[in-house]
Symmetry: D2
Amino acid sequence: MTQKLSSRQVRERIAKSPFLETIGARLERTQPDGVTLACRFRDDLRNVFGGLHGGVAATLADAAAAFAIQRHFGGVRSMATVEMKINYFLPVREGVLRARARLLRAGNTLCVAAVELSDSQGRATGAALVTYMLLKP
Amino acid sequence: MTQKLSSRQVRERIAKSPFLETIGARLERTQPDGVTLACRFRDDLRNVFGGLHGGVAATLADAAAAFAIQRHFGGVRSMATVEMKINYFLPVREGVLRARARLLRAGNTLCVAAVELSDSQGRATGAALVTYMLLKP
Amino acid sequence: MTQKLSSRQVRERIAKSPFLETIGARLERTQPDGVTLACRFRDDLRNVFGGLHGGVAATLADAAAAFAIQRHFGGVRSMATVEMKINYFLPVREGVLRARARLLRAGNTLCVAAVELSDSQGRATGAALVTYMLLKP
Amino acid sequence: MTQKLSSRQVRERIAKSPFLETIGARLERTQPDGVTLACRFRDDLRNVFGGLHGGVAATLADAAAAFAIQRHFGGVRSMATVEMKINYFLPVREGVLRARARLLRAGNTLCVAAVELSDSQGRATGAALVTYMLLKP
């Protein structure tokens, strides 16, 4: 049976993903069915209206889904994002944005994770569904 | 009748959006039905596999849709991203990523734009549908 | 405070939706945060490969989301589907398809529900996110 | 080189898809990059508000995308819907709903088509992106 990725291993992989470093994404915790990533509000991550840019939330959701899948397979599989769908409920203007990803489907070729986005007050700020394709070794 | 945003006005608005500055997004051209934004491959925009992070493409698609809509309304409307959907076809490993947004629907409350993503060789690298809500003045 | 729709009221509304009658959708149960609809496999609901057509699953997910929202508002609000996103995990070839919808966001204008699709064996067969707009009275 | 599916062959395949028969979907025309399907408004396809149910539009968009892909590959490939995303712009209350599908990406494993939905007056009523997976022979 595949050994799941440890928190340390997820952190190492985040550190090797330059754009996740650029936005300041970090692992908050792992769960049996996924992971929670977080990202702190910063001025250079804002949109023209002063809130966190939707692209930051999309990046964090994409990454949380990726690590939920990588964690399941022990991180030994190469993969590519197929598509993502994201809904935004509320703007984030301070504090932390969290992305809690749950693995919904681990197929031979395609994997799907659901992501809940929330802010420092615990309010739901968005939701996403992300599909990844496992590449041949 | 509303005066459409000029290229200069779109550029001013991009310059006021810190996260678009962070990823190096710029206006390439305007069209009667939309705009084309572009973003150059940089090391700090990569994912763990060495390609441009999907979140960069999502950010560029979101912004291109926003400016296609803002341009239509002359930039006088405040608005918020409702949701986006994006498909990734091919990785981008060098050169430029372009996002060509076309306004599909300009409603009283909701606006939708379609975005085609392409690389320096003109290959289709992805596609998106983005929904924005116009806020009350 | 708004009285939630009862199971009887949801059933009455399903009966007034001709296309839901056409596919044989029925209410299975209500939950504090949503509803579960179900639909039995029938030959006239198949695709060319012999499984339940994806459009049936999309219809059931759309309807489950609608009733999760209607139930929350007591069914007094007129509304329209803005968009939906659906992932298919496994084909359904017999028995029952269930759609469990949870209200994620009840805004002044937009409401979003997440839907889990499952088959008679309880396997996850798909997932959806559905956005509805509340219309002015 | 693969021979594209003829109009006659697309019609034969529609006739073998029971749910497409149930909603009355038919081929309107083929194009070099896709197909246009259509479906006539009928009372049993309505939602509770009297318009064509969103699930009918989703089914038609899904099928148009499928035939745009099947046509490209000459109809020799078995495939499954991976996911779809659909935006609704306007209700359809009479006449015909058309779904014009264009193949955007034909990969070795995944194919994506964009669909434009329109009504009898030629108004855009919605848009979709649909992903199919080609199955191993």
